[in-house]
Subunit: 118 residues, 2 copies
Amino acid sequence: MPNYDHHVFICTNERGPDASRPSCGHEKSKAFKGLLKDAAKKAGLKGRVRVQETGCLDQCEHAPVVVVYPEAVWYGFVGKKDLVEIVEQHLVGGKPVERLRLPESCINNEHCPHREKK
Amino acid sequence: MPNYDHHVFICTNERGPDASRPSCGHEKSKAFKGLLKDAAKKAGLKGRVRVQETGCLDQCEHAPVVVVYPEAVWYGFVGKKDLVEIVEQHLVGGKPVERLRLPESCINNEHCPHREKK
């Protein structure tokens, strides 16, 4: 069974209390990682999908952030109730959850409307 | 500038001293992350390529391991001297470094020849 059908990365970075940008680790992302893993396992995806934490994905103003490869689908402002939907609709069904998806204009763009001017 | 041309993940997981599997964090991968970032920046890829650490990629017997998305190219047994080659040939030139690439038969396969039987 080579490679993964989907490789899911969730940022768990925590910035210090005086940081100027928010961080996913303060938005429950560590717990979300476990919930995503459990949901994927329950959906029968063990070995076909890998869910894991990463350092900062640099999309901090959309925390908590998840990116799914190889399709490069970015999710932002993910809530606990969204996790099962991501697993069932996207990882099982192959259809990204459009309502959670970050638009291209938000990704890797310092002029994104969510990003405060420094 | 939406999305990244390449998103590079390097495992920096460290297992405990009695672990039955090796780990990338013991193979200098934390330092390698910084070297990869520096090489990418020097190559003019800032903003187009992101290099970051991850938790365990579960390909431990090939440590240190790097995976590049969206093309899902896996590198194993990466050495310090290989890092600039990955940046220049793959991230700049678009051609994966075949000599470092893990074969599909090694990825996500517990019967991979590098993996000791438990």
